[in-house]
């Protein structure tokens, strides 16, 4: 173990070496602050963000038999490999990183898309009949139902559009806040090229995928496109999906939906996804079909 005195000597040595290497003039030579050598003072330094460490590049195994081979293996998968151990248990750093990633995933599920975000993106806010997140996660049947009052609001706001874009929090509010501002304009721009205007976008709080079927029936839109947060994993809590259907109806077969999943910076980039979605919508309008039926025609 390193004692305090040894540590102080070590720090002084490192500082001196750094000063020598940079050939700094006297006034630029870093000086050991008085406070660094005591345990009572609070340093102004900030610890680095552990979530920014690239897991693929980090090999915690000391003296691996084949370091290059190990890094090659890690490069081929996002799995947490080469994490090493203390006894049979995890190293502290990998255990903390796991906890951090789980915390992000849980927060993504149980937090809300901010009202400001909804406003800034010109989304018209409505909600399903779920009372809170707890009811939302335990009652998938309620996350697809609207009160009569909400239904009237939706009808009044949307009218009778050709394409209705809907945004739903789903199981990751974080994914909406991370991706929507790139994906939504890309969809609209793509549609505009085909002379299609999508306006009056909706935001649904406590939204399950089949909520889009109700929107389809209420608006009579040719195509409904729902951008919704996916159930987060530890690799990313920010993955969004697009569910798109031609004239969706309540209780229609799931096979009638076309799905683009894995929309996030590390997956399908959000702008690219938006352009792709616009093309799909156009195709659905032309072919009057979606999902498996779209592949047949």
């Amino acid at each position: 173990m390193v004692t305090d005195t040894q540590l102080k000597t070590l720090i002084e040595k490192i500082v001196l070496e750094m000063a020598g290497e940079s050939k700094a003039s006297e006034e630029h030579t870093p000086k050991l602050k008085q406070t660094d050598s005591t345990n009572h003072a609070v340093s102004e330094e900030v610890l680095p963000d552990i979530s920014e460490i690239l897991i693929k590049k980090e090999l915690l195994v000391p003296n691996p038999a084949d370091e290059e081979g190990y890094l090659d293996m890690k490069d081929k998968t996002p799995a947490r490999l080469g994490v090493w151990r203390s006894g049979a248990r995890y190293m502290t750093s990998s255990a903390l990183r796991f906890k951090a990633d789980h915390a992000a995933a849980q927060d993504a599920v149980f937090s809300y898309v901010s009202e400001d975000f909804v406003k800034e993106n010109n989304l018209f806010p409505v909600a399903t009949v779920c009372q809170d997140k707890d009811e939302y996660v335990t009652r998938p049947d309620l996350g697809r139902q609207f009160s009569d009052e909400e239904k009237e609001k939706i009808k009044a706001h949307c009218g009778n559009p050709k394409v209705q874009i809907v945004v739903g929090d789903g199981l990751s509010s974080a994914s909406i806040e991370a991706n929507l501002e790139n994906t939504l304009p890309a969809i609209k721009q793509g549609l505009k090229l085909h002379g299609i205007d999508a306006t009056n976008d909706l935001f649904i709080k406590h939204c399950r995928v089949p909520a889009m079927d109700v929107i389809g029936e209420l608006t009579g839109a040719d195509v409904v496109c729902l951008l919704v947060g996916e159930r987060p994993g530890l690799v990313t809590a920010e993955s969004m999906s697009a569910y798109i259907a031609y004239k969706p109806t309540v209780d229609m077969p799931e096979a009638r939906r076309t799905v683009i999943s894995n929309i996030h910076e590390g997956g399908t980039p959000p702008v690219e996804a938006g352009a792709h979605i616009a093309e799909l919508i156009k195709k659905m309008i032309d072919k009057k079909a979606s999902g498996l039926d779209l592949n047949k025609v």
Partner: protein, 455 residues
């Protein structure tokens, strides 16, 4: 048959055995969603009192889903040993519970009794057991099975190595396999859930897993967890498969939703015995999980615990090598939080063993459930105490393809050290040969370095 009781001066009258069974269940969000759970804590206990006094004959005569309507019911009822059933049919459910826990009843005695039990009886006795009852009773029952090696022997704890990859990158999959082997995981099976479950992809995966197994001469078995029909076609086209996998349900309608029937599973088993690569005779691998039937609207108003027991009654006909419940994968609408997942994990393990199955558990949770890794560590420790045959392990507990968390490779080794359990013998010897564990069963200095397998 009495379906009524008084508790704290209040009379509770139940309409059917199904209602008693549902209300006697420990609280599960899935039963609440289905609208069949007890409406108060007292009603739950009243239902348990009524259930405790029903006889096994009452349960035999009132299956959860009628015999005429449901293939699973028919398979369970028709496979009963009538002689044993006749000798126990007058027992009440509480007598069955006490018989199982009695010092004078051995594990072998329980295995014999088990041949006279329907799945409804297995579920009923489980509803009268506390968590420690489930651990104690589970620990009494030893069920072994043989594929290439023997699983479930006393004093062993095995692991499925689950090397999933979000895009089926073969090198990435092999990397996760080598990492797991470096911690002593993989004696139950190296089992991959492919993203792409088309025939060509499944064949490729079978060949790649076999290549790894042969290269390092690993005494274990491989599995690619695609749909049974895809695996069958892959085998017919020459893919090397030790096991055929399938998810199964506790009702015919649930099995139909999975695209299977009893006949299909029997055909798959025949094929695996005739054209598979394993020594056998146990060549099937099944996964289950409370709530699956409700999610496919195939529950017939029956509670999720009873349906889970019926999965085991169905599955045992095909003499599997591995069965595991994927206990927390289904989400909070079926098992709300860690308390419900821990309870369900202990129930499923006990029910599997009481049904005569070589039972394992995927101790796991999704990120929209109120549970975390600490809860999984608790459940896995309890299950290892209960004598679970095997647990599922993924790198650091994080499945990067299915986006849920299970146990890590580290956990299986920790549990073995803590409870003095061993891997399957041939695998243990292989681990020694590869210098992963020492003579005392602890990890060697270089264990945990997957690049050992590269040099």
């Amino acid at each position: 048959m009495i379906l009524s009781t008084v508790l704290f001066g209040r009379t509770y009258q139940f309409k059917s055995i199904n209602e008693v069974m549902a209300k006697a269940n420990e609280e599960k969000s899935g039963d609440v969603m289905a609208g069949i759970a007890a409406e108060s804590a007292e009603e739950r206990v009243a239902a348990k009192v009524v259930l405790a006094n029903l006889t096994l004959e009452d349960l035999r005569n009132n299956p959860a889903i009628p015999y005429e309507q449901d293939e699973v019911t028919r398979i369970i009822q028709d496979s009963l040993n009538e002689k044993i059933y006749d000798s126990i049919k007058r027992w009440t459910v509480q007598e069955l519970r006490e018989k199982i826990l009695d010092y004078n009843t051995s594990g072998n005695d329980i295995r014999r009794i088990s041949r006279g039990l329907t799945s409804e009886m297995v579920a009923a006795v489980t509803k009268l057991m506390s968590n420690l009852d489930l651990i104690t009773a589970g620990n009494k029952i030893t069920v072994t099975a043989h594929c290439n090696t023997t699983i479930g022997l006393e004093g062993t704890l095995s692991a499925r190595l689950q090397p999933n990859h979000p895009s089926d990158n073969e090198d990435g999959i092999v990397a996760s396999i080598l990492e797991g082997l470096a911690y002593g995981s993989g004696d139950a099976v190296v089992g991959l859930n492919p993203v792409d479950d088309t025939l060509e992809s499944v064949k490729r995966m079978f060949h790649r897993l076999e290549e790894v197994k042969n290269k390092y001469a690993i005494p274990t078995q491989n599995s690619v967890l695609a749909h049974v029909t895809t695996q069958m076609q892959a085998i017919r086209e020459g893919a090397p498969a030790d096991l055929i996998f399938q998810s199964i349900a506790g009702s015919e309608k649930g099995n139909t939703a999975f695209g299977i029937s009893g006949e299909l599973i029997a055909e798959a088993r025949e094929l695996a015995l005739r054209e598979g690569t394993a020594a056998g005779p146990n060549v099937m691998y099944f996964e289950t999980g409370q709530g699956a039937e409700l999610s496919s609207n195939a529950h017939h108003g029956v509670d999720q615990l009873t349906l889970e027991a019926r999965c085991y009654g169905f599955g045992k006909t095909y003499e599997p090598f591995l069965v595991n419940t994927v206990v927390g994968f289904i989400g909070p609408e079926y098992l709300y939080d860690s308390k419900q997942v821990i309870r369900a994990g202990l129930e499923d393990h006990f029910m599997g063993k009481l049904s005569g199955l070589p039972m394992g558990v995927d101790v796991c949770y999704t990120n929209h459930m109120k549970a975390d890794q600490d809860d999984m560590e608790i459940l896995s420790t309890l299950l290892a105490q209960a004598g679970v045959n095997f647990l599922i392990t993924a790198p650091h507990g994080d499945d990067v393809m299915l986006n849920y968390q299970s146990l890590g490779y580290h956990e299986i080794q920790t549990l073995r050290e803590l409870l003095q359990l061993k891997p399957i013998k041939e695998f243990e010897e292989w681990l020694r040969k590869m210098d992963v564990i020492d003579l005392s069963g602890r990890l060697t200095k270089q264990a945990g370095d997957a690049s050992l397998f590269l040099v």
